[in-house]
């Protein structure tokens, strides 16, 4: 009996903590939107974050996008070859990249690189009282720290996704046409035939949403860090796990709505 009550107690606590967390993230989003348009705009901080989230994530996104496109071409080639439909490899790669893999993998990569850094940086600022110092100096930390990170992520993740989509298709072309000898005309023709602009746009909209999610969660976890170095470590891990899972869950719902 005691064990059942303990289990229920723990379950209740977890549910409460989850609900509290979701509420906290929502409140942070609302405050961010409130501060976003209040002048003066912190353009310098936004550009600095764009460089960190976007430019410095380019290399990892280039690698991920290219190799994903390549392996996708390789796998689908073996499948399509069974019923002599190798020509569909190009459109399969392009559709998969633009609709799903480009935005999701870019979101996950940026989460690992920049989302974790946001949680760690803000967490360190929290435990070393730098965030309190901002409040004391009559400077709102949401405007100074959260708004630039979120704006930068919402703009840069779609741009990185566009790079990933493009290089994924190029990677697929290289494996399909150059290595596996699929007819170039059929490969490209099927891409033109089956991939529509909406596939690309919707993928980019998804990416912007993932950018919002990963930065919001990274900032929330960093902002609410407690304890010293251990707290910062925990906040970083939790931010990466929560943001990654949220991206995958949100991806399902966005796909269901968009396509």
């Amino acid at each position: 009996m005691k064990r059942v009550s303990e289990t229920l107690d723990n379950l209740g606590r977890s549910v409460l903590s989850g609900v509290e967390q979701m509420g906290g993230i929502l409140i942070l989003l609302i405050s961010t939107l409130g501060w976003m348009f209040r002048p003066p705009l912190k353009l310098r901080a936004i550009i600095k974050q764009m460089e960190f989230v976007g430019v410095k994530s380019t290399f990892v996104v280039v690698l991920t996008g290219t190799f994903t496109g390549m392996v996708l071409a390789l796998q689908s080639y073996h499948g399509f070859r069974l019923f002599s439909a190798e020509g569909l490899v190009g459109s399969t790669v392009a559709l998969s990249m633009t609709r799903e893999l480009g935005p999701v993998l870019t979101g996950l990569m940026v989460t690992a690189r920049a989302g974790s850094a946001m949680a760690a940086e803000l967490g360190t600022m929290r435990v070393t009282e730098q965030i309190d110092a901002l409040y004391v100096m009559a400077a709102n930390p949401i405007k100074y720290l959260v708004v630039p990170r979120i704006v930068a992520s919402v703009f840069m993740v779609p741009l990185l996704t566009a790079i990933s989509d493009f290089l994924g298709i190029i990677g697929g072309y290289f494996v399909g046409v150059v290595l596996l000898d699929i007819n170039e005309g059929i490969f490209l023709d099927n891409i033109y035939k089956y991939v529509e602009l909406d596939d690309i746009y919707n993928g980019l909209i998804k990416a912007a949403f993932f950018g919002l999610l990963l930065s919001l969660i990274g900032c929330y976890k960093g902002f609410n860090t407690r304890g010293g170095a251990e707290g910062v470590g925990m906040a970083t891990t939790e931010a990466v796990v929560l943001a990654s899972v949220s991206i995958l869950v949100a991806d399902y719902f966005l796909t269901a709505i968009m396509f």
Partner: protein
């Protein structure tokens, strides 16, 4: 003038402030002493509006800051400067950017004027030529001095010091004490210092208040405090393990 009236604050079931009443005199240094974890920093955070009380008032020039919204709080905070325990300098900014932060944010000063003001404040805390250094390149004592320069950059009326001498060697400790005394005198500041370093409190304080079990149990000049018969205060000042303060 800062007046704290019947201030209460609890964290879950733990009462940290249990009816604090205190008046801080203008143009003087008031030191708040008490045991570690006894609520001194919590009291300081209430004075600057970083925490909201469960009940009670914090009156800054007759305005109850506990009732202010963010905008109102920000206006009141412009009267304050604060030196945090570890300095809390912004890691991503150099010394000049740290010290000039409030000037850039809250004044219409030109860059050249800010540069001059930063150099002046750094000189006031005994530092020159370190404007381009990053906080990570500074020693503990230098970091505190830069943080003090940042705290007084906007010429505040009130400066709060959260354990300013913790973690310093005896020479640097003495230097920081002297700096607090000089800064208070030169800029005619109202200072509130949180400390449990007995030697320092008698050096820098015009008035001393002892916080114990959530209340101010003694308040007076250093002489009055030294002569107080209060056994809790005397045990704290002598550092004796025997007495009414339970160690465990």
């Amino acid at each position: 003038m800062i007046r704290i009236v019947d201030l209460h604050k609890s964290f879950q079931s733990q009462k940290v402030l249990d009816g604090v009443n205190l008046e801080i005199e203008d143009g003087k240094t008031t030191v708040i002493i008490g045991r570690s974890g006894g609520g001194k920093s919590v009291l300081l955070k209430h004075i600057i509006g970083l925490m909201k009380p469960d009940s009670g008032q914090i009156l800054v020039d007759d305005v109850d800051i506990a009732k202010l919204d963010d905008r109102g709080l920000n206006e009141v905070r412009k009267k304050f400067g604060m030196l945090f325990q570890e300095g809390a300098l912004f890691d991503s900014m150099n010394v000049a950017e740290n010290v000039g932060f409030t000037l850039r944010e809250h004044t219409k000063m030109k860059e050249e004027e800010i540069r001059v003001a930063v150099a002046e404040k750094l000189k006031a805390v005994g530092l020159t030529g370190i404007e381009e250094k990053m906080p990570s390149e500074l020693s503990g004592g230098m970091r505190k001095r830069v943080a003090l320069a940042r705290a007084i950059a906007i010429n505040p009326e009130i400066v709060l010091f959260d354990e300013p001498t913790t973690g310093l060697d005896p020479i640097m400790l003495e230097a920081i004490n002297q700096l607090i005394i000089d800064t208070q005198k030169n800029f005619n500041l109202t200072c509130i210092v949180i400390s449990h370093d007995i030697e320092s409190i008698f050096k820098v304080g015009h008035k001393i208040a002892m916080l114990y079990e959530g209340k101010i149990i003694e308040y007076g000049t250093p002489e009055e405090i030294k002569k107080s018969p209060n056994p809790v205060l005397q045990q704290f000042l002598t550092g004796s393990i025997e007495g009414p303060i339970h160690i465990m």
